[in-house]
């Protein structure tokens, strides 16, 4: 087989982070659906939290990129 094991790590990193952001966006959408006037408060908070969750996946991707050459 060809390739490095670090690529598998890269794929695994995205798994948990995507599920977490999916749950976050679902909760935010539910909140907006209950009370549409609250969209201006909920939406910026959603983006901020999504970026914090995304940062964890990006740490792991950067660490994997350092070990790419076997």
């Amino acid at each position: 087989m060809h390739g490095s094991l670090a690529l598998v790590g890269m794929g695994l990193a995205v798994l948990g982070s995507s599920i977490g952001i999916g749950i976050l966006v679902a909760a935010a959408l539910q909140g907006i659906a209950r009370q549409p006037e609250a969209m201006n408060k909920i939406q910026p908070l959603m983006f901020v939290m999504a970026s914090i969750i995304e940062a964890i996946a990006l740490f792991v991707i950067i660490l994997c990129m350092l070990n790419l050459n076997k």
Partner: protein, 254 residues
């Protein structure tokens, strides 16, 4: 194509720091050893900021119009929602210039990276490290200056823990200061780097596959448009988290 196209080298050449600047129709500019390409980007960013805020920002208008109004929106948002909410009334007003400078500097550097002939200086770990180091200095030395050494220890100590096991959470909070600054650095760096690698990978697909790969060009343009949004978002998040961390050290609620 005269030489074989190496995708790896194409991406690395556009992402990494180098001492050569290739402009079209001009010979390659060879930069001196003390100034690299990202250094030139930093200088251009500073120049853009000075031009925008010293010359284009009209202070004499009683009611702001036009470009001044656009900048007012960001500056007032920084002061009211980010600085004063996290740092208190008077400390917030004193820290607003630092937070505004951080925001506009990071924003300009991120947006310069999306222009075809320039590269993103924030895709360099040293640049984001220096910016996170500023926040770290405010967190440590600012607290030492304001509250003294005892105040610094009080800010680190979590509350409501029996004294027997206190060293463990204390150490965790102490290293947490450095971890938060490290996370700020890595977040900005990784977001910018990932965006640029995606764009250059898609452009490399077009070159490798020829005419079949043209839809990849459309996708590349769409991702570049998304990167504008990511540039704004990452600058905002860096500054907001800086303000939150500094505020938690200056006025610990525990």
């Amino acid at each position: 194509m005269s030489a074989a196209f190496n995708l790896d080298e194409y991406i690395n050449h556009h992402i990494r720091d180098s001492h050569q600047w290739q402009l079209p129709f001009l010979p390659t500019i060879q930069l001196p050893p003390y100034l690299s390409l990202h250094g030139v980007m930093l200088l251009i960013g500073t120049l853009v900021l000075i031009i925008i805020f010293c010359f284009l920002y009209d202070k004499k208008q009683p009611v702001p119009h036009g470009f001044t109004n656009l900048l007012e929106f960001f500056v007032v948002y920084m002061r009211d929602e980010i600085a004063i909410k996290n740092l208190g009334e008077e400390e917030g007003r004193r820290m607003t210039p630092f937070l505004c400078t951080l925001f506009f500097f990071i924003l300009v550097l991120n947006l310069l990276g999306l222009i075809p002939l320039f590269t993103a200086a924030t895709a360099n770990l040293n640049v984001t490290g220096a910016l996170a180091f500023l926040t770290l200095c405010f967190m440590i030395f600012g607290t030492l200056w304001k509250n003294g050494f005892k105040g610094f220890l009080k800010a680190i100590t979590p509350s409501g823990i029996p004294w027997l096991i206190l060293p463990v959470p204390f150490l965790m909070e102490f290293f947490g200061i450095f971890t938060k600054a490290f996370a700020l650095m890595i977040r900005l760096f990784a977001n910018m780097l990932a965006g640029h690698i995606m764009i250059f990978s898609l452009l490399g697909i077009v070159v490798t596959l020829g005419l079949i790969g043209l839809p990849a060009l459309v996708l590349g343009v769409c991702i570049a448009a998304f990167e504008v949004f990511v540039a704004f978002l990452q600058a905002y998040i860096f500054v907001m988290l800086s303000a939150v961390f500094i505020g938690r050290m200056y006025h610990p609620d525990h």
